[in-house]
């Protein structure tokens, strides 16, 4: 995506505004930095854990234990939000297995989705998901990929009012249906919005991220590494020397910091099957964050490679 003057001005204003945000002391203590969820001011660590593909391991006992180890390392490093969906195969029961194994940490922020074309079957699906996780209730339920979003949002708002969940959201991915997403962000009292954003897919910078700031909607960023494609592409390239200024030691950390430094971003949810990678991801949420000039430099450098 080319950077227009309007995009640049919006991004500049957003970054300038970030200086006014409350500074989380966690980052200075080596823990992941936190950002407030705008609708409640509840603070949450800015790196979460996605489960698309990585947690879909079926009944494989060895791989289930690997996922549980990733979850244990995630909580140990200060992580909170785990995101899943009924669409992700066996990911939900695997999360439930992992939570049971690591002792159901109170820090968990459970983010689920409803994904069915029938509005009437939404509540049953959410209940099935809750049983898979083994939690009393979800913190956040999102309408997955805008599927049957009208009836599902109605259900979720009713559940929130009844205290059956804490936050309501809606998701899309890979730049699809941004116009409709924008319309929903303007018209519905949602707490969270989730979409794809990374160092090369920057369409969200133009409208969605500024709109989320303006409307007080928390932003969850999916596909921060384009499902591993960006890491595969960059792993043969040398990390630029100036990246040391940010205290990063890998492309993954540099690309995560690019995303996390945007003030409208609340949480990014990279997915992984490896304990060392989950620690690496969470450590990107600590230490210095790139300013606007550095973000532009990161984007330009990656684009040129």
């Amino acid at each position: 995506m080319g950077t227009t003057r309007r995009t640049f001005v919006r991004a500049s204003l957003a970054t300038a505004a970030s200086a006014l945000l409350p500074i989380s002391p966690h980052a200075e203590q080596g823990l992941p930095a936190r950002r407030p969820i705008p609708s409640t001011r509840e603070e949450i660590p800015i790196v979460g854990l996605g489960t698309w593909i990585t947690f879909n391991v079926g009944d494989d006992a060895l791989l289930r234990d690997e996922c549980a180890a990733v979850m244990a390392a995630f909580f140990e490093a200060g992580g909170r939000m785990i995101d899943s969906s009924p669409m992700y195969g066996s990911s939900q029961p695997v999360i439930g297995y992992g939570l049971q194994k690591v002792g159901r940490p109170s820090a968990l922020f459970s983010a689920e989705k409803v994904w069915t074309s029938s509005g009437a079957s939404g509540p049953a699906q959410i209940e099935q998901s809750r049983r898979f996780w083994g939690v009393p209730k979800f913190d956040l339920v999102q309408v997955h990929n805008l599927l049957a979003w009208k009836p599902h949002l109605q259900t979720l708002f009713q559940m929130k009012a009844a205290g059956a969940l804490r936050y309501v959201g809606i998701t899309t991915s890979e730049g699809r249906r941004h116009d409709l997403l924008e319309q929903i962000m303007r018209s519905e009292p949602i707490d969270f919005v989730q979409f794809s954003y990374n160092v090369v897919d920057r369409e969200a910078e133009a409208r969605l991220l500024p709109l989320a700031s303006e409307r007080g909607i928390a932003v969850i960023v999916n596909r921060p590494f384009r499902q591993g494609e960006l890491i595969d592409r960059l792993k043969r390239e040398k990390l630029p020397e100036w990246a040391a200024e940010l205290g990063v030691s890998s492309w993954a950390q540099l690309m995560l910091k690019y995303i996390l430094a945007h003030p409208a971003v609340t949480v990014a949810i990279p997915a992984t099957t490896r304990v060392d990678h989950v620690r690496e991801n969470l450590s990107a949420a600590a230490g210095p964050m790139p300013d606007l000039a550095m973000r532009q430099r990161i984007a330009a450098h990656v684009k040129a490679l």
């Binding site: 879909n56 391991v57 079926g58 009944d59 494989d60 791989l63 195969g89 805008l146 699809r176 249906r177």
Partner: protein, 237 residues
């Protein structure tokens, strides 16, 4: 699904190659030594065809029917569906193919006297499904544990069935062909999306089978006997 043109095959892949191949390892470990029985059943199928059976064709169809229903239930329904919800919709298709083969077994609707190119292609595909496919795991460095074996895994079962059907004649043949052919296509697409080189195997079997059938149909239409039969039919004599 909105904006369907923006979706790629990768968007529908729910699992990693590691999880996929470990699934075969676990399945093989759970069913061993049943593989010896299913491979023996495959050899019996070849022997029955080679002997150009009369009533033996019924037994051949019965063997394939049992194996299709078993693979649909044991692999697709009980194992593959845990990582791919679409497999729960594909398992009934395997049951349908099994039931069709059962009908053929009961009614004796197939004859095995096909010669020429189609016959040789049938034997080649059948041989590859039984003896070649299990080696692909080894050739790609995964070891025997994740081998796909006839009667245990869907790919060699579908391929072998296509081979058998190339060697057969009968009115029920058109009903038996679509499911194994579509499975080969679907499996090839899945493997290709995972970046697995062995995607060529189901694709190659499908292309060879389609080419052999096309050649057979074209040749049949051009043969003097067929043209004469058509003329007689048109004249009402």
């Amino acid at each position: 699904m909105s904006e369907w043109w923006t979706y790629r095959a990768e968007d529908f892949l729910l699992f990693s190659p590691r999880v996929y191949w470990r699934m075969f390892e676990l399945h093989n470990a759970a069913l061993w030594p049943l593989h010896l029985l299913t491979l023996a059943a495959g050899l019996i199928v070849i022997l029955l065809i080679a002997r150009r059976p009369g009533s033996g064709a019924r037994w051949l169809a019965l063997i394939l029917a049992i194996l299709w229903i078993f693979v649909g239930w044991a692999f697709l329904w009980n194992r593959y569906a845990t990582i791919n919800w679409a497999a729960a919709y594909l398992a009934p298709a395997f049951a349908v193919e099994g039931v069709l083969l059962l009908i053929v077994s009961l009614r004796g609707g197939l004859a095995f006297d096909r010669r020429g190119l189609a016959g040789w292609a049938g034997y080649l595909i059948l041989g590859f499904a039984l003896a070649g496919q299990p080696w692909l795991a080894l050739l790609q460095g995964r070891g025997w544990a994740s081998s796909e074996v006839f009667g245990i895994a869907p790919d060699p079962t579908a391929m072998a069935t296509l081979g058998v059907l190339l060697l057969a004649r009968g009115r029920l043949l058109p009903m038996l062909l679509p499911i194994p052919a579509l499975w080969c296509l679907l499996s090839g697409m899945t493997l290709q999306t995972m970046g697995e080189p062995q995607a060529w195997a189901p694709y190659a079997v499908l292309v060879l089978a389609v080419a052999a059938w096309t050649w057979t149909i074209t040749r049949r239409r051009r043969s003097p006997d067929t043209r004469m039969a058509d003329v007689l039919k048109e004249n009402g004599t």
